[in-house]
């Protein structure tokens, strides 16, 4: 028995030393030994082979799948005016004193049924559906036995992911987070010399790099000359808390957020010792003037790091960008937009907070194949003359959506939990009324 325990301890020590030497130290200093590149190449080849096999099997059977880019329905995409004109075309004479036909209701009926079959909003709050299965249990919707080879590869994948990769990643993340807490607290003890800022940045970046390795993240940064500078605000589309890790491996930002308890609270308090972040109490978040003032004070201090904000306010599934809340765009400073696009083939990065807790989400991330994403730094934007905060926010949103290949939606991400406002229905009613009773004053 003792021999067993001694042997296990010895194996654990070797395991830890290997991790530190081969993964942690290279990632801390920003270079790579090439092990993860080999893994990714094998993975890409395996997934391509699997896709080919599934496609062959499907075309033999004649199974049809929806084309994910177009959605489920062929839409007319005409405006209300155009479609109602079309409906009324066959009427014998235009009546006096009110333009209404019984068939007008068909327009609304069709719009309604189309939205029941496939709408633009509710699908953004669940994981993106893959075009082809990526050999993960969680994305397998219609179970179909394709071939023995595929099932073996799938089984092998489970063993590799759960028994080899997951423990490795968990160890790395634990090391990364503890180092973050210890390192930032240590740096916080130093007096405010120049060297403190430099060390603080170094500690932050190293810890985030370790955490990124802990998720097997392959990140490609584009246009790094546009990286956010001090005194500005960096805005990005939000898919999950991992966005922070992705962005912070390449630069230092000041975070904005609510004060939490527990582990998150410890991390927050440690981080704020080494460099200023903006943490709000829950009660303070309701006061918009207070929030705006604190953010303004932070950006006006040119020594402080750029603030990182996610204006959508909630996690969206990375197929679209939803309404940006105008708060960050009212501060009047330079905005640095960043677009983040994950590749869903290697793992689903979206955090569905109603379905998974944070811990369960992180475990799912660690048992995926990998995390592959592209980050684009867009040129800085300023509020233009005669443009209000909402228009500015929409302009930035469109730029991010265009760069990331995401759908630009006007809908509020808050619709995940809240009901839509009555004013939108009233707008539709007003529009229709204008078609019934021509407004003579126009």
């Amino acid at each position: 028995m003792d021999v067993f325990w001694a042997g296990a301890l010895w194996a654990l020590k070797i395991w830890l030393y290997l991790i530190i030497l081969l993964i942690m130290i290279p990632s801390m200093f920003g270079f790579s030994l090439g092990i993860s590149e080999i893994y990714m190449t094998i993975l890409v080849k395996t997934l391509e082979w699997a896709t080919l096999n599934i496609q062959k099997a499907n075309s033999d059977e004649g199974t049809l799948k929806p084309s994910s880019s177009n959605g489920l329905i062929q839409r007319e995409n005409g405006s209300m005016e155009k479609e109602l004109e079309e409906l009324r075309r066959s009427r014998p004479k235009p009546p006096v004193g009110g333009d209404f036909t019984l068939s007008d209701c068909f327009y609304f009926i069709r719009q309604g049924i189309e939205s029941i079959v496939d709408d633009q909003v509710t699908q953004r709050f669940t994981s993106e559906e893959l075009v082809s299965w990526n050999l993960l249990t969680r994305t397998n919707n219609d179970f179909q036995y394709i071939s023995l080879k595929l099932t073996l590869v799938y089984g092998l994948g489970i063993i590799v992911r759960y028994c080899i990769l997951a423990p490795l990643r968990i160890t790395l993340t634990v090391i990364g987070v503890s180092w973050l807490v210890i390192g930032t607290s240590a740096v916080g003890l130093l007096p405010n010399w120049r060297i403190k800022f430099w060390l603080s940045e170094l500690v932050h970046v190293m810890c985030y790099r370790i955490c990124a390795r802990g998720l097997s993240a392959t990140i490609r940064y584009h246009n790094r000359e546009n990286k956010p500078k001090k005194g500005g605000i960096c805005v990005a589309n939000h898919t999950s808390p991992i966005d922070i890790v992705i962005l912070c491996t390449d630069g230092c930002y000041a975070m904005v957020g609510q004060v939490h308890g527990g582990l998150m609270g410890i991390i927050q308090r440690a981080m704020v010792r080494s460099c200023p972040h903006v943490w709000f109490e829950r009660s303070e978040m309701k006061d918009r003037h207070l929030v705006t003032k604190r953010l303004k004070d932070h950006v006006n201090d040119k020594k402080k790091l750029p603030i990182l904000i996610f204006p959508e306010g909630t996690c969206i599934n990375n197929t679209s960008v939803m309404m940006f809340k105008k708060g960050s765009f009212e501060i009047g400073t330079t905005i640095y937009p960043v677009a983040i696009k994950y590749d869903p083939k290697f793992g689903d990065a979206f955090w569905n907070s109603s379905k998974h807790s944070m811990v369960s989400y992180l475990l799912r991330m660690m048992t995926s194949w990998a995390l592959v994403c592209n980050v684009w730094y867009l040129p800085a934007m300023h509020q233009q003359e005669g443009e209000d905060a909402v228009q500015f926010a929409n302009r930035v949103k469109s730029a991010i959506a265009h760069q990331g290949g995401l759908v630009d939606l006007q809908w509020d991400g808050g619709l995940k939990r809240a009901k839509v406002k009555e004013t939108f229905k009233e707008q539709q009613q007003k529009k229709y009324s204008n078609m019934v009773v021509r407004d003579d004053s126009n």
């Binding site: 329905i73 009110g98 019984l102 209701c105 327009y107 009926i109 309604g112």
Partner: protein, 197 residues
Amino acid sequence: MGSRASRLLREEEIEEIKKETGFSHSQITRLYSRFTSLDKGENGTLSREDFQRIPELAINPLGDRIINAFFPEGEDQVNFRGFMRTLAHFRPIEDNEKNKNPSATEPLNSRTNKLLFAFRLYDLDRDDKISRDELLQVLRMMVGVNISDEQLGSIADRTIQEADTNGDSCISFNEFIKASFVVNIHICTVVLVLVNI
């Protein structure tokens, strides 16, 4: 796996729905996937709240009436069969269907049944006539607060006057068909796009 269908659709059920509604196998599985994603309670049925969670439907002026059409008389839940039966009205009319068994019951997506769906939207009490009050109710839903009661009343009166041929001051189904002047019935269809990948 547990994230999607809490219960998979059986082949016999798919066949039955296919016969009843005319949807293809893949369309049925796809719509079942949609049904389960709307079913937040995961109990195999949809309630009115589940429909109202769709923002585009919630802002539709006739949204409530459309949702009502899915629920059988006096019921608060609709199962997948009922869901498909209502959606079947909106399938495009295929030419080859007209020539099939002429003695069989009319398919759910026939021109007449499409018009009947719209007629029933107005005719809330199911007495097979649209009264002035019922017409006013639907008009009010569509225009909101933007038109006065008198103007709306005169629009309703004029509409009934033009459509009513038998002088009972109500619009029957046949009068409705003639008065709606719908030549191009494709306006009442929703085309599902399914491609081979």
